[in-house]
């Protein structure tokens, strides 16, 4: 059975991320992946796929907002969405939004 090119694709899909929390469950650090372009000796970019990635733990300097989203609860546990969102300011001044999937207990980063 072959895959067919889809006509509609999701946008800004969340990606799983590693988060360290304190005893209260609040995030204190987030691991982000940075793509580093690999340059040749002459300073020209190499073809796609030659880049390397680096994951780095960044401390949370401030939790700017916390809110919960509870959707599709009427469709049962299989389809229910229950998330606890955190708008974070990291110590490099970068802003990220992460959430904890309360049903599966997995952390995700919400795309911007």
């Amino acid at each position: 059975m072959a895959k067919r090119a889809g006509a509609v694709k999701p946008l800004n899909e969340p990606a799983q991320v590693s988060v360290r929390t304190d005893q209260g469950g609040l995030p204190v650090a987030v691991q982000l992946v940075t793509v580093i372009p690999t340059l040749s000796r002459r300073g020209q970019s190499r073809p796609r796929g030659a880049n390397s990635s680096q994951s780095k733990w960044l401390k949370v300097s401030q939790i700017e907002d916390i809110y919960e989203v509870d959707e599709l609860w009427w469709r049962g546990k299989e389809q229910e969405i229950q998330r606890l969102y955190f708008d974070l300011r990291l110590d490099n001044s970068r802003k990220v939004t992460v959430y904890r999937d309360l049903i599966n207990d997995i952390w995700f980063r919400q795309a911007d």
Partner: protein
């Protein structure tokens, strides 16, 4: 002529719940490249065979197909790895043009028996037999008609499966044996449970990850919550869960028959001389444009195919910026691309196929800038589709639910079409 399929060869799994449920047949030509190789050289039938992609600019050759029953090798695997596991396997170059030509002939033969045929992949086609049952009488007669249409033209191992969805029809076809058909109904969950995850039509790396998690059977996946599968494996995980539970709502999309004009010649001697090759192309284009089908019409694409002496077949596609309505227009574009192409070896023959036939003779430009931009975009998409053979993966952002609490529901990517 006795049909190779009879009512006694019809196997069924599960029970029929509703006579009106959707009925789809999957026509499967298993190991198509291997079957092609065996038809050229019967001695290969009893040998372990690995069919590999030809020598290209890519650094690694991969396995395209293999002989039935060969273990330790799967399609898509690196050739080096496959041969290290089967040192006695015979290596055969994949003949993609011949495989595509054979596939096209099978699809055309199917369309003589049933109207709606979907070309899913090389060697896999889906047929909507729901309405056709009224024409032929019952499922058995429909399958007989399909098998007759194909078997009268080709001496191939063809399997037929029937189910209420494309997925179940495909699984049924995989289970069927030569000259039998198999039918799965909506109550076939028990049957699906024992199948390996390698049958799923998802990324191979996702399948490897699932196996690392201990999910080796569809039953292992079906027992997990759908949300957990989606969280861990993304969209592939959700798809796997649906299919493991026999859920497939994808519609059957009948293919659009494309008109083509094809001309062929054989060189007296194999040649790499560009002048000889260009002369051959010019001759073939002259013949093609003299055909009644191309009278007052234009072509958007030209495909060149040739058998290369002691090498894999050579294929070159030329998509015209403007539809070509004459030999000279087409030849100009082909020569331009040929100048920057390396012929891989002496050509033994040459085939020119013109497709994307259109009746356009003149263009009327719009004076409104926005409409002109949309027209230009539509033309570009059409040409790109001709070049790559499927709708181009170009999307625009479409706002769906701007006030949704779930951020990824607010917008989506919608594929552009011409």
């Amino acid at each position: 002529m006795t049909p190779w399929f009879s009512a006694a060869d019809f196997r069924q799994e599960g029970s029929v719940r509703d006579r009106d449920e959707r009925q789809i047949a999957c026509v499967l030509v298993p190991n198509l490249h291997w079957q092609l190789a065996v038809s050229d050289d019967e001695a290969l039938r009893d040998s372990p065979v690995v069919v590999a992609s030809g020598r290209t600019s890519k650094p690694q050759r991969t396995v395209v197909d293999l002989s039935p029953g060969l273990t330790g090798v799967v399609a898509g695997m690196a050739l080096d790895q496959a041969l290290s596991r089967n040192s006695e396997a015979v290596l055969v170059e994949a003949d993609f043009p011949a495989a595509e030509t054979l596939n096209e002939k099978v699809l055309t033969a199917l369309e003589t028996a049933v109207p709606d045929v979907e070309e899913a992949d090389l060697g896999i086609a889906y047929v909507d037999i729901g309405g056709v049952q009224l024409l032929y009488g019952d499922n058995t007669r429909v399958v007989q008609a399909i098998s007759r249409a194909v078997s009268e033209t080709f001496d191939l191992d063809i399997r037929i499966g029937i189910g209420p969805s494309k997925w179940l029809a495909y699984i049924a076809a995989m289970r069927s044996k030569p000259r039998t058909a198999y039918r799965l109904t909506t109550q076939a969950e028990r049957f699906l449970k024992g199948l390996p995850v390698t049958v799923l039509p998802i990324e191979p790396k996702t399948i490897s990850r699932m196996q690392e998690f201990g999910l080796s059977r569809l039953g292992d996946i079906g027992n997990k919550p759908r949300g957990a599968m989606h969280s861990q494996f993304g969209a592939d995980g959700a798809t796997a869960w649906d299919l493991a539970n026999g859920i497939d709502q994808s519609p059957l999309v009948p293919r659009r028959t494309q008109e083509t004009v094809s001309e062929y010649l054989e060189f007296p001697d194999s040649t790499v001389n560009l002048l000889n090759i260009t002369t051959g192309i010019e001759s073939l284009l002259s013949r093609a444009y003299a055909r009644p089908l191309l009278r007052n019409r234009h072509a958007r694409k030209c495909e060149l195919q040739a058998q290369v002496f002691e090498n894999a077949p050579w294929v070159m596609d030329v998509v015209f910026k403007e539809p070509a309505g004459s030999k000279s227009d087409a030849l100009f574009a082909v020569k331009g691309k040929l100048d920057s192409t390396t012929i891989p070896g002496p050509l033994e023959d040459l085939r020119v196929t013109l497709s994307g036939l259109t009746g356009e003779q003149q263009r009327q430009e719009s004076m409104w800038l926005e409409i002109k931009r949309q027209t230009d975009l539509s033309d570009s998409l059409s040409q790109l589709e001709q070049r790559i053979g499927e709708p181009p993966p170009i999307y625009r952002v479409q706002t769906l639910k701007p006030t949704s609490k779930v951020p990824e529901w607010r917008s989506a990517l919608v594929q552009l079409s011409h």
